[in-house]
Amino acid sequence: MEWEVVIGLEIHVQLATKTKIFSGASTAFGAEPNTQACAVDLALPGTLPVFNENALRMAVMFGLAVNAEIGKRSVFERKNYFYPDLPKGYQTTQLAEPIVGPGFVDIETDEGVQRRVRIHHAHLEEDAGKSLHEDFHGMSGIDLNRAGTPLVEIVSEPDMRSSKEAAAYARKIHAIVTTLGICDGNMAEGSMRCDCNVSVRPKGQEELGTRTELKNINSFRFIERAIDTEVARQIDLIEDGGKVVQETRLYDPDKNETRSMRSKEEANDYRYFPCPDLLPVIIDDSYIEAIRETLPELPDARRDRFMSEYSLSEYDAGVLSAYRPQADYYEQVVKQSGDAKLAANWVMGELAKFLNQNDTDIKDSPVSAEQLGGLLVRIKDNTISGNIAKKVFEIMWSKGGSADEIIEAEGLKQVTDTGAIEKIVDEVIANADKQVEQYKAAEPDKRGKMIGFFMGQVMKATGGKANPGAVTGILKQKLDALCD
């Protein structure tokens, strides 16, 4: 039987506010345990929440960026459950009246599948703390620094039909929130976390199959792998006559399997009700419009502009525009070098290679856009060849310095002086009797290929610094003269 996969995503995005959603405690990452958990975050008696305006503003920015209706009235509710990293015994969240209503984003997979994914809504809520289950004499350790960190939970419609589409959607949301600057996008630190709702149904069937929820997946690669694994499990199960049970499952990347998270299935009953400690949040058109004015150029618009302004392919434009620091870097290199194509090749090629190898974010690149731009200028004006430029880049990366300083200090300047090149060519020819005889014996139309040997010798003698165009011309002229 042919199966159709149906996927919806819930993405939690940690907002890049300085303080918690309902308290003035810092949200900085990596602090000592519980040093950023104040009385409000600990739910001590008598404390009351006060809503952070910046969290509201960021949620509205997101809503505008995904073409959504903004809730001019939104209401916080209590979602009740017990867990030690949730001191109040409830999570303050939104349900019936969220800040962001229905919207959509357009996605495209690597294979060129295009799709519009509808967003059901996005709501504001607070994050929980962290439980550490290492052995504390049979107890668990609780760090509440993260408790109260503002989150936007983005709930999609079940519009995706493959794991690749799900990953493309997550990437698009990542591109949007990082471009807006409302999230640092660091998935390894948990700034963006993803739950995937997955079901399968026979192709052509209208009714949805029973879904499972895959929890807390923290990389794009794992989104794809977890979904593929779970889809295979569901199909096997159904084809063997079994039934999918609605449950929460955990993806184990080491074993590449999903497993049930709760041994006994118990319907969650969160007993939502409006939070009496918080009043309805009311915003007006002028507030929304003022925020709209501040929106930066969004990834889709920037991709389209890169295609039209810089004549980049859709793929290159898509890659370069997906992450704002990279897009900004690229445009700076273009400005500096005046060559959009060359800049794209270097940012996506040599620079990306070094960043990957050293696990470095482009924001922290030891080679600045100005430095790289300066290097490209020297390729363009023939001071150095592309190969020598890679050498210069390597030195730039490890030791710093401008292209001109490195070229000067290392004596890498390309030799374009014809007299100097001629001298070297003469020497090479004089020391290669055998190859010269072969050249003379060859058919004239085969001789072009044989120049390669001499070219190699000249480059060896000059340390790669001779201008390849000039060398070819002189070689050809001198060798052909010997043939007459």
């Binding site: 303080t19 810092s26 519980n34 104040c38 600990l42 289950h133 107890m139 609780i142």
Partner: protein
């Protein structure tokens, strides 16, 4: 709507309340009398009336995104039954 014994047990479990089996019936009766009041209210025609999110006729005030809290861990943890390495310790929980 009427609650039976298992509903009462379920509600107590969700609220992490330990109750005596002998009291379940009387709790059930009390809860049911509250629910019958709710039924009475439900019968009212509320067409065109906006749901009330809060009894106060006011809107939420907003706070500037400025750090106002300093590290008070020592004081705050002085009331905790068990701490170690800056963490609150609780009976082991594994989901």
């Amino acid at each position: 709507m009427s609650l039976d014994r298992s509903d009462v047990e379920q509600i107590a479990h969700l609220a992490r309340l330990q109750i005596d089996a002998a009291d379940i019936d009387s709790y059930g009766q009390s809860l049911n009398s509250i629910l019958s009041l709710v039924d009475q209210m439900q019968a009212t025609n509320t067409e065109g009336v906006e749901p009330l999110a809060h009894p106060l006729d006011a809107v939420q005030r907003l706070r500037a995104d400025e750090v106002t809290e300093s590290n008070q861990r020592e004081v705050l943890q002085s009331v905790a039954p068990a701490t170690e390495e800056g963490l609150f310790l609780v009976p082991k929980v594994i989901e």
